[in-house]
Symmetry: C2
Subunit: 228 residues, 2 copies
């Protein structure tokens, strides 16, 4: 049997295209011969570090993104819907607190445990499905409970998320993404037989399959386990 | 039999992603129930009109584009290769003369004739395969002859390309693309049962098939008829 391929997914919950990529890769863990490594990171840092600007600043691009995302969400069966005020959600409020929190979850339970996946999904369900806050401790607690983590540990996670250790961890994962050549998220890095293939966005799965010697079978829609 | 779907492809030969989309859609004329309308336009005008900036200005994005394009070119079986000095090719020299010339070919032979397809492909072969000039009359003549058009008509086409009529035609097609919401090329506009679906780029074919009720069967590589 061929050795398992490692796929790293760098993502931020502020990014709706990251959500699509996240769900597809989580599904393909059961389809492809891969180990998926979730790498929560900070998109703001990647944009700053690469000198990139958010695509939404160009009016035609912003309009297109709305159409593109709703078509993709339907096709990928991800319950994504635009917040009422995307500017407020994405730029003024941002995702720093949320990404520190997810980093803390990874630190506490191990990056390969399902907790990181479940908490990330519940935070996406808040911000990119139900248009709910993801900046306040109460919001992050609620997502954590929905993800099935024990109530007694939420306070500890919130404290951990505010620690220097976690701030530094998030910075260093973000820097890793930049070192791979990131200029936005999702960034997907495939390691196959000592070779590295890097893909940006959620629209290269067919090409990715071709490059890593797997078969693309479409978005494989399944019922999400997260509660709407 | 269902009525044929009309697909408009707005493209500029300066854009390598446009070439990929062009070849795929030309192949799918024989696979999907579509009428493909080639709409040569001017990318410079679309970037200016939409306020967009070329992606290559962000260093990480530029590096990624190189990798992305060569992987896609191999997968799509399009003989694309980067020019030695992409800046010189894309920005300093540009494609205005070439796009006026292709517009003139459409005017002379009819937009639905194979001439526009063949001449466009031969110009792409020059700029995005063999790193040859596409700004001088001699270069455009050579491409036209390779495309199989009669030698006696080349001079007439060059004169037509310099006319106000053709300049205005190119401007108006470019404006049509902007009115559809373009911020780059390729722009693909599908008309199905009175509904319009707009796609940017050469990475939405699977989604496009889903939206227009056709089946995506991969890039359908075939031997190009153009001579390398």
């Amino acid at each position: 049997m061929a050795s398992r391929k490692v796929i790293e997914l760098f993502y931020d919950v502020v990014s709706p295209y990251s959500w699509l990529g996240f769900e597809v890769l989580c599904r393909y863990r059961n389809v492809w011969n891969i180990d998926l490594k979730l790498r929560p990171a900070f998109l703001g840092g990647v944009m700053k570090g690469s000198g990139n600007k958010p695509p939404g600043l160009i009016p035609n691009k912003f309009l297109y993104m709305g159409t593109d995302l709703s078509r993709l969400a339907e096709y990928f069966a991800v319950p994504l819907s635009f917040p009422n005020d995307p500017d407020e959600t994405m730029f003024r409020k941002g995702s720093l607190a949320a990404m520190r929190f997810i980093t803390a979850v990874g630190e506490r339970y191990g990056a390969d445990e399902p907790s990181v996946e479940r908490v990330s999904r519940e935070i996406w369900m808040r911000v990119w499905c139900r248009d709910e806050d993801i900046t306040l401790p109460a919001s992050l607690s609620e997502a954590t409970l929905k993800a099935g983590l024990p109530a007694r540990e939420v306070e500890e996670l919130l404290q951990l998320a505010a620690s220097e250790k976690i701030k530094d961890k998030l910075k260093s994962v973000t820097q890793e993404a930049l070192d791979y050549g990131a200029f936005g998220f999702p960034l997907i890095v495939c390691h196959v037989d000592g070779k590295r293939e890097m893909f940006f966005g959620s629209d290269r799965f067919e090409l990715m399959a071709h490059c890593i010697g797997e078969k693309w079978l479409g978005p494989q829609p399944i019922k999400l386990t997260a509660k709407v």
